[in-house]
């Protein structure tokens, strides 16, 4: 029980901090956040924020320019989706089939947690019978036969 309580505390702490630290407010930080969610068109699998390619550099500047012009983060992302397709988003937007990868992690964690609990919870002694005292199919058949024999 104590362990469960401790796990719960840590789990809550983790879930609380999972969304990350407060959303960025300065243009520079917002631009970095948008760039890290966009896929660099000319690289293997890097974000616009990470890529050392020249085009990614121009895209970072374009993001900052648009933010300075007063566009929202969402509008900037929408511009790139318009030009490059949804392919450009490193986290699929949440609708339709895309809900699968977005909801899956939490669902998997929940199922995992529940199964763990079901397996380790302390059982009331009355419900636990030693497996060795239970009859197997073969035992039962044999028992039936023997009892049959006695009756005869």
């Amino acid at each position: 029980m104590l362990l469960a309580a401790a796990v719960a505390v840590v789990a809550i702490a983790v879930v609380v901090v999972a969304p990350g630290d407060p959303a960025p407010t300065t243009i520079r930080d917002r631009a970095a956040a948008v760039a890290s969610g966009l896929r660099c068109p000319v690289c293997a699998n890097l974000s616009v924020a990470d890529s050392p390619s020249a085009l990614a550099g121009e895209m970072r500047r374009e993001i900052e320019r648009r933010l300075r012009a007063g566009q929202t983060d969402e509008a900037v992302r929408a511009y790139f989706v318009d030009r490059y397709g949804r392919w450009v988003l490193l986290v699929p937007e949440g609708s339709g089939l895309n809900l699968l990868p977005l909801l899956f992690p939490l669902a998997a964690l929940a199922v995992g947690g529940v199964s763990w609990w079901a397996l380790v919870r302390r059982r009331r002694p009355t419900t636990t019978s030693e497996p060795s005292t239970r009859l197997t199919e073969a035992d039962r058949a044999r028992l039936d036969r023997e009892l049959e024999g006695n009756r005869r």
Binding site: P41, V42, E58, E62, V81, R83, R86, L119
Partner: protein
């Protein structure tokens, strides 16, 4: 997992062990089959293929300075003509491969209401001019400061070529070196579209 840690299972109403086995096998085999089918769907996949969201959308407007100085080239001035927009760079090897095809197509269509524009991509002016000198062709070449036009077109790399119909719609796009056949097919169909419109 739950079974194995010993769920209570009354032996009394237990079904025949063979059908239980069949159920267990099905529980294993059905997901395996589904997973295999999913993976099989990826077999014909070309991992380097890129999406094409700009097809059939209006071509972005641009106004770009000519390479080596001079007046600007604007998209507005080309309305009503078929425009072939070719993104290229001096450091790009496939660009050299496709250049003869561009030259041939340019010679064939320059008098027929078709404009070519070569947009230089992530390059230095000097190197670009030297390349143009070496490769030949006299269609307008422009620079793209900050790659803004390239981003507007959704360019994934060079070379990349767009065919814009007279009404300003992107009707065809090719990533990588273009062939002469591709150019004449797409330009002809853009011309027909312009004629009927």
């Amino acid at each position: 997992m739950s079974d194995e840690l010993g769920e209570e299972r009354g032996t009394a109403g237990a079904p025949n062990p063979y059908s239980r086995r069949a159920v267990a096998l099905a529980v294993v085999l059905v997901p395996v089959l589904a997973f295999t089918l999913l993976l099989a769907s990826g077999l014909g996949r070309d991992p380097s293929e890129r999406p094409d969201p700009v097809a059939a959308t209006p071509a972005p407007a641009f106004s770009l300075p000519k390479l080596g100085g001079g007046e600007r080239i604007t998209s507005a001035s080309m309305r009503g003509q078929v425009v072939v927009v070719n993104f290229w760079a001096s450091w790009c090897i496939p660009c050299r491969q496709e250049h003869p095809a561009l030259l041939r197509a340019w010679e064939r269509y320059r008098e027929r209401g078709v404009v070519f524009v070569g947009v230089n991509f992530e390059d230095t002016e000097e190197a670009a001019l030297a390349y143009a000198e070496e490769q030949g062709g006299d269609w307008p070449l422009v620079t793209d400061p900050g790659s803004r036009t390239a981003i507007d077109f959704g360019v994934f790399g060079v070379p990349e070529t767009f065919v814009v119909a007279p009404d300003g719609t992107i009707v065809a796009k090719e990533i990588g070196a273009v062939s002469y056949e591709w150019l004449i097919t797409e330009i002809d169909s853009a011309l027909r579209r312009g004629g009927s419109a």
